[in-house]
């Protein structure tokens, strides 16, 4: 299969198929992510957005096709091997550990590559986490848990982030904070795939949008979408 040769391509997904047990949820995804951009996967519930992130991370084990990251094939790699290539994942459910306090949650991921944020930088960026460092992880508010889930992967030095609906269920002011954070990360050269259903949030941060339906890519837009594009997106999202 011909691989796209955009000079800055970081991740190329080709003909990706994925299954949960016997049920197929990804039906031949094709898209690529450029170095340093924020790409959103848009689509309705059950379209296959989260599954795509889980397939890239290796958490969805049964998958075929090609996931090429910086010229390395990931399709047969295990989760921890993929993580060590510099990809980090923040799941929708945030997965804050109840048996660990906030500090333990934050410092659990080992530093894999240099250039990650230090604990001091993270506490500066997320002062709430420092204040509540010795609370159980799951005692935090939803917004704080989301901050913690993002903060802990910023320690590792991984610069390719998979973020699954970071805005979900949060107050508008916190969504705005997360948006600011993502823009800062982009300035620092991070590459981000963002799964979103919140179109306004997605539009405010992303460079490009990929629309997913029934486990396939059905459309792609750049950030400077025209008004006709917007109505198309809204039709896809059913809003």
């Amino acid at each position: 299969m011909k691989i796209d040769v955009h000079p800055n391509t970081s991740l190329v997904v080709r003909d990706l198929q994925g299954w949960y047990a016997e049920s197929k949820v990804i039906h031949g995804m094709n898209f690529e992510v450029h170095e340093g951009e924020i790409l959103t996967l848009l689509g309705r519930n059950g379209a296959g957005k989260t599954s795509t992130l889980r397939a890239i991370m290796g958490i969805m084990r049964k998958r075929t096709g090609s996931i090429n990251f910086r010229s390395e094939e990931l399709i047969n790699k295990r989760i921890y091997e993929i993580a060590r290539k510099g990809i980090a994942y923040c799941p929708e459910e945030r997965a804050i550990f109840a048996s660990l306090d906030v500090r333990e949650n934050l410092t659990l991921p080992p530093v894999l590559q240099s250039g990650g944020m230090t604990d001091a930088e993270l506490f500066q960026a997320f002062p709430n986490l420092q204040r509540r460092a010795s609370s159980r992880g799951t005692r935090l508010s939803g917004g704080e848990q989301q901050m913690l889930a993002i903060a802990r992967i910023l320690r590792t030095g991984s610069r390719f982030l998979l973020l699954d609906e970071p805005s979900e269920g949060l107050a508008p002011v916190i969504v705005k904070e997360i948006g600011e954070l993502l823009k800062k990360l982009k300035q620092r050269g991070y590459t981000i795939i963002l799964v979103e259903q919140n179109w306004r949030f997605a539009r405010s941060v992303a460079d490009r949008h990929v629309v997913v339906e029934h486990g396939q890519v059905v459309d792609t837009f750049t950030a400077d979408v025209s008004n006709t594009d917007v109505s198309r997106v809204q039709r896809y999202l059913g809003v």
Partner: protein, 292 residues
């Protein structure tokens, strides 16, 4: 009836209870560690304990390695056997219902116990205590070796608990217990961690076996007899709760001893009576966490 009980009898039984409790605690702690990470009830635990004792006996009788050497070598050897078992048998079953892994450990237990019986017979083999003598406390005689067993098991249990509760390694274990995929997505080699943790649990069983060799006789069925009570300990303490397993282990050993003094007929039943009561009142066990 109470005035007939001499202090010698009472304290003698309490010492036996404390010794039994030490083994219950160490064995149920290993089971709890394994269950916590793998969700597998390790039915081979009793056999792995027996292998520890046999390993000590073989080392002494064939290679002349004394008890103190066996205390290190046997857990390593049996732990290595456990890791092999995890890689070859348990790992291929890990994506199936956990009942398959449970059955596999039970099958291995039956096979290994049968092989050992075939080779060495069912009668107990003697193993001399490495420390002789004891101290007369006035109300009872305390053999030094028994004191050593109690102290060693308390130190081992406390050390293991501290490791899991307060170290980085322990944090990985606790986190992987909740969500192994996310821990692995941080770049941690969770499959290897599972192998090593199973090896640790098995090694602890073998260590208990070496400790037990001079107290109980070394025999193929020494583990299966003990494990019935140990499973009761695990259920009472709360499946997967490490501190619960340790504390319940000692308490149950003492409860058996006290029952033996006041109503000997019920001594072997008391653990199960407690288990039934706990299951009725607090089905997840006394020390269960929110997860269980």
């Amino acid at each position: 009836m109470f005035d007939m009980i001499s202090p010698q009898l009472l304290f003698g039984q309490l010492l036996i209870g404390l010794i039994n409790g030490s083994f219950y605690a160490m064995l149920s702690m290993g089971l709890a560690i394994i269950f916590g990470l793998m969700n597998v009830v390790n039915f081979a635990h009793g056999v792995q304990y027996m292998l520890g004792a046999f390993c000590a006996w073989l080392l002494l009788n064939y290679l002349g390695v004394p008890y103190w050497g066996a205390l290190i070598i046997a857990p390593l050897a049996v732990g290595a056997f456990g890791m092999l078992m995890e890689r070859l048998v348990l790992r291929p079953l890990q994506h199936l219902d956990h009942l398959y892994a449970l059955l596999a450990t039970y099958a291995i237990a039956l096979i290994v116990e049968g092989l050992v019986r075939q080779e060495y017979g069912s009668t107990g083999l003697p193993y001399a205590a490495p420390i002789s003598g004891g101290i007369n406390l006035g109300f009872m005689f305390l053999p030094y070796y028994r004191l050593w067993v109690v102290v060693f098991s308390i130190v081992t249990c406390a050390g293991t608990w501290l490791l899991i509760e307060y170290s980085k390694l322990g944090a990985y274990l606790r986190a992987a217990n909740e969500n192994p995929n996310i821990v692995e997505s941080f770049g941690i080699n969770v499959p290897r961690m599972i192998t090593l943790t199973y090896g640790l649990g098995v090694g602890l069983a073998a260590l208990s076996g070496v400790l037990a060799a001079p107290i109980y006789q070394v025999s193929p069925s020494m583990g299966s007899g003990l494990m019935i009570t140990v499973f009761a300990v695990v259920v009472i303490g709360g499946i997967g709760s490490i501190s619960g397993a340790i504390v319940t282990g000692y308490i149950l050993g003492l409860a058996e001893a006290i029952t033996k003094v006041f109503y000997p007929e019920a001594a072997t039943t008391v653990a199960f009576v407690v288990m039934i009561v706990v299951l009725l009142l607090k089905p997840n066990g006394i020390f269960s966490s929110e997860k269980a």
